[in-house]
């Protein structure tokens, strides 16, 4: 016989929900506006979304650290705040990319923006909870929204991409819930902190390790799928190619950050308990991912696809840090993604600027290398900026990503995984080749027919975004210090 439940408003601590409430409200608002008055210009929705995200940003900043709320399913610790901020920044940089000079019809639907905001909310839920249920819901909300957004790009590619992503996502979801079920079966709890407590007790039991690791394994598949670790990454290049460049750029960051946080919470728990099997699973996955995807990136003909593989490899790179289980390692993850965000989004935006309605230099690819050859002669500034992004991705100092790499590798070294650090180093060297390849095309090859139309899709907002990204990428060295200290604080207060 169940007891009736009494809940006091105070104990709900609804403030913890405020960011999500804001953004969901915003999404609804957009839909309502659309209901009231049809076909308003997209710029309105863009600006509205930015404002909403901005408010959300403020709300997130105002959150107190290490609070729980809403039946204690919400967990507002440093990590969740940091990750939410990252997600919001990325989103704010993403939205303006809708304001292109060419017309891409997905942006003319207000639903696009509504969905986008729902997706962001979903990601925020993912990172702001340690309750498996909520994580799952957030994950699915975000994913479903994302599938739709991809599909809305409405090219043959985009549909195929969406369906691939969707199906694999469904499978991943299956794995996730099954893993959750195993954990639940072992501990009778769905809150990770409870689960942790019970594990502490039951670790000693004989034969426990099989279900223990089995559960981790199932969850790992789901995580691996989302952060695209080999061999669960296969959707990534296709989906990136199928979807619009900004969407691809967005996907290379936000979902991964969100899932990284979930991974930190779940796998981190295992690693923390010293389950070597899990630690090694992560390391091996990471190494395989960064190495093989690097090599696959070498042989791509399309820049976007190359960037897809490269972002896989970056994910693997960061994933390795997860296995180290040190504050520095966890901090490095956020630092890395913080820097990666600007560079990568910038790079994808450059592709977006160069986007035309139909592939110009290749029957299938929109952004084959050849398209950029001799860019330095026709659009020097564009070439230089793109080069800066590429060098940053390569990890050439003083550009932003170097500092990220530096910190990750340093964390690895501290944890005593010298060999891993070396592998990371060599991988960056391999990666250098395909980033250079683009630079070589832009700077060292003669111009091709139609390279002057590189700015086909150019528009002020896009240029501004690129400008911000480039500026950040070049001058990052000066903001590393504050960023680092902030992140270190946030991560350490969350007890990682």
């Amino acid at each position: 016989m169940l007891q009736p439940i009494h809940v006091s408003m105070a104990s709900l601590n609804l403030i913890t929900l405020s960011p999500m409430l804001v953004i969901i409200g915003g999404a609804l608002l957009i839909l309502i506006i659309d209901l009231i008055k049809k076909d308003l210009h997209k710029s309105l929705y863009v600006m509205l979304s930015i404002l909403i995200l901005f408010v959300d940003f403020g709300a997130t900043l105002s959150l107190g650290i290490n609070e729980r709320g809403f039946f204690d399913v919400m967990l507002i610790d440093g990590v969740s705040v940091v990750s939410q901020l990252l997600i919001l920044i990325a989103s704010m940089l993403f939205v303006p990319l809708a304001l292109t000079s060419k017309r891409f019809h997905e942006f003319s639907y207000p639903e696009f923006f509504a969905l986008f905001l729902f997706m962001v909310a979903g990601f925020q839920f993912m990172v702001a909870s340690d309750n498996l249920i909520l994580i799952f819901i957030g994950l699915e909300t975000a994913s479903l929204a994302l599938y739709t957004l991809i599909a809305m790009h409405n090219t043959p590619g985009s549909h195929e991409a969406a369906i691939k992503y969707f199906t694999m996502g469904a499978l991943a979801a299956g794995f996730f819930v099954m893993g959750a079920a195993v954990l639940y079966g072992l501990t009778g709890a769905v809150e990770l902190y409870d689960i942790a407590k019970v594990f502490q007790v039951r670790m000693a039991e004989p034969g426990i390790s099989i279900p223990l690791i089995g559960g981790a394994l199932l969850l790992m598949v789901a995580i691996g799928f989302k952060v695209s670790l080999m061999p669960f990454h296969l959707w990534t290049p296709d989906v990136y190619e199928g979807s619009s460049a900004p969407m691809a750029g967005y996907m290379s960051i936000v979902p991964k950050v969100a899932m990284m946080v979930v991974a930190m919470r779940i796998l981190g728990l295992y690693v923390d308990m010293g389950v070597e099997a899990v630690r090694w699973m992560i390391i091996i996955l990471a190494v395989v991912t960064m190495t093989l995807s690097n090599m696959m990136a070498l042989v791509q003909e399309d820049v976007k696809r190359m960037l897809a593989y490269s972002s896989i490899s970056h994910a693997g790179f960061v994933m390795a840090a997860l296995a180290l289980d040190t504050t520095k390692a966890y901090t490095s993850i956020f630092l890395y993604y913080g820097l990666f965000l600007f560079t990568n989004l910038g790079a994808f935006t450059m592709l977006w600027i160069s986007r035309r309605k139909h592939p110009s230099h290749h029957d299938r690819y929109h952004h084959p290398y050849i398209k950029f050859s001799g860019l330095i002669h026709t659009a020097p500034m564009a070439a230089v900026i793109m080069a800066v992004f590429m060098l940053s991705l390569t990890g050439v100092p003083p550009f932003s990503l170097f500092w990220g790499k530096l910190y990750v590798i340093s964390a690895t070294v501290d944890a005593g995984y010298i060999w891993l650090a070396v592998v990371m180093g060599l991988n960056s060297a391999i990666a250098a080749y395909y980033y250079l390849k683009l630079i070589v095309y832009m700077f060292l090859k003669p111009p091709v027919q139609g390279v002057e139309l590189i700015g086909a899709n150019k528009s002020k907002p896009l240029v501004v975004i690129v400008g911000i990204a480039a500026l950040f990428t070049t001058l990052s060295v000066f903001i590393i210090q504050p960023l680092l200290s902030y992140l270190t604080y946030m991560v350490s207060v969350s007890g990682y």
Partner: protein, 509 residues
């Protein structure tokens, strides 16, 4: 002017940025002026440098990422001082010597200025990460120079150069991070400052793998056998100015790294690995000298010859006594000037005939006497004739290493024979004998601009050959300090035995 080092770094940087604005037709003058000012600044640095003091001077320290111990930390001592001066000089002469017919000169000059920033930066930074920053950044302009103005295989050469060096230095980076980690676990705070690291006494086992980690980074740059194969391509494809800078300055980064990092940080490991390093160095000396002799292309001869000479420098560095190390540092300078001059000279003939094949020439001495004379003088410097700059360095390096191992030195000494062999045969093939080719009959002799670039080099080469003291003494003071420091830091008896502190230092104690 206490912050002159920052000025030296940022002046060319700013100048390069502003260069974008300058109109194409006046860019040459702009470039020359900027480079000249930079050179004068380095001279000023030299004259305001306290030669008696062996320690670091003009120190600048600005916290950059204090939580992670990365600081903007600059300083020079006798070892780096002259390399900086040389870097500025070679950039200046390189720009002066730029041919009329070179395409998009503007980009070239701006790139060179960026390159100069990186070069100066490497030699003045006392913070490992800042050092690494400049070290890596120097690859980018070089990549562009080789790739944009190079020969038909330029892309291959450029990428090979970049990736090869990049890979090596990343391993070095891991090493650096490990040292920083050790420092942090000892001192409690993060620091990448070289001077802090010097205080660190690493256990032998750690030293040993760290030594190889750094070795990889530096050896590829030097380049040491068997990591040298990028160099012939780079030189073969690069335009004249590219080769000049590459040979004169970029290669020195490697040997400088050994002196600045490997020796003081891992004295015991360095001593322990003298033999393998020396063997590699001797392979470089003899084997590459032979390869040089086999070349048909003038430029390749000089490219391989510089590998061979770098071998002698390596011997000097690992001599573990002031004579040798001072010699090797001095040899870095002389080799920089001499090989730079040689590449300029090859460039001269290449501009006229668009070929570098020795078989295409012969009897040039009759057609271009001035050219022949200057080439001859530089050539004699390169084979280490006394009273030219080449001799002092080579002699001291070998003399120093003789203390460590007479037999190996004897082998290393073959450089003076084999050097003569390939250099003289080059000279004979292209300058002596009758003028066979019709098109060579009416080649015009050196132009004013070429003379302006070459004569100063000849003058310096002879001046410092006859009176090297003003350069040797500051270097020597710093090196003595270095060796004394290594000696007191050394742990193994072997190291204690091999590292040889000069008498004068002992008396000073």
């Amino acid at each position: 002017m206490e912050n002159i080092l920052s000025v030296l770094i940022f002046f060319p940087l700013v100048a390069a940025m502003l260069g974008f604005v300058v109109k194409k037709d006046s860019i040459r003058v702009y470039g020359i002026t900027v480079a000249a000012i930079e050179f004068l600044l380095t001279l000023w640095l030299w004259f305001s440098f306290d030669t008696a003091n062996g320690g670091f001077q003009f120190i600048e320290f600005v916290p950059l990422i204090s939580d992670f111990g990365i600081n903007y930390y600059l300083g020079v001592d006798g070892i780096s001082l002259f390399i900086i001066v040389m870097a500025a000089l070679m950039t200046l002469l390189g720009i002066v010597a730029l041919g009329e017919n070179i395409k998009d000169l503007k980009n070239m000059i701006i790139t060179l200025l960026f390159l100069e920033v990186a070069m100066i930066g490497v030699f003045v930074s006392l913070d490992a990460i800042i050092f690494y920053l400049f070290w890596e950044f120097s690859l980018v302009p070089m990549l562009y120079i080789i790739g944009a103005w190079g020969g038909e295989k330029r892309l291959y050469a450029a990428i090979k150069f970049f990736i090869y060096t990049f890979a090596g230095s990343l391993i070095m980076l891991v090493g650096m991070l490990y040292i920083a980690y050790v420092y942090q676990s000892v001192a409690g705070v993060w620091s990448f400052s070289l001077t802090d690291w010097y205080a660190l006494v690493l256990p032998i086992s750690v030293q040993k793998w760290l030594f190889w980690a750094f070795f990889l980074g530096f050896a590829i740059k030097v380049p040491m056998f068997p990591f040298h194969t990028w160099l012939p391509y780079a030189h073969g494809q690069a335009p004249t100015v590219g080769s000049v800078i590459l040979a004169a300055v970029l290669l020195k980064m490697g040997t400088y790294g050994f002196v600045r990092f490997s020796l003081p940080l891992f004295p015991d490991a360095s001593v322990a690995y003298i033999l393998p390093v020396a063997v590699i160095a001797i392979i470089m000396i003899i084997y590459t000298a032979m390869v040089a002799y086999a070349q048909k292309d003038m430029k390749q001869v000089i490219a391989y010859s510089s590998i061979s000479h770098m071998g002698v420098i390596m011997l000097g560095v690992f001599a573990m006594n002031p004579e040798g190390i001072t010699g090797s540092v001095f040899f870095m300078l002389s080799h920089g000037l001499v090989s730079g001059a040689l590449f300029l000279l090859v460039g001269v003939i290449y501009d006229r005939r668009h070929t570098k094949m020795m078989s295409e020439f012969g009897g040039l001495a009759s057609v271009m006497p001035k050219y022949a004379v200057i080439f001859g003088i530089i050539l004699m410097a390169s084979v280490g004739l006394p009273l030219t700059m080449g001799f002092v360095g080579e002699y001291l390096s070998l003399a120093g290493f003789f203390k460590v191992s007479p037999v190996l030195t004897l082998l290393g000494g073959f450089s003076i024979i084999l050097g003569a062999v390939y250099m003289l045969s080059l000279y004979k093939k292209s300058f002596f004998g009758p003028v066979t080719k019709e098109e060579n009959k009416k080649l015009h002799d050196l132009t004013g601009r070429e003379l302006a670039a070459l004569v100063p080099l000849v003058a310096i080469v002879i001046w410092l050959g006859i009176y090297p003291k003003p350069v040797l003494v500051p270097i020597d003071n710093s090196v003595k300090a270095l060796v004394a420091f290594m000696d007191q830091k050394a742990q193994t008896p072997e190291a204690k035995r091999i590292i040889h502190v000069s008498r004068s230092t002992k008396e000073a104690k």
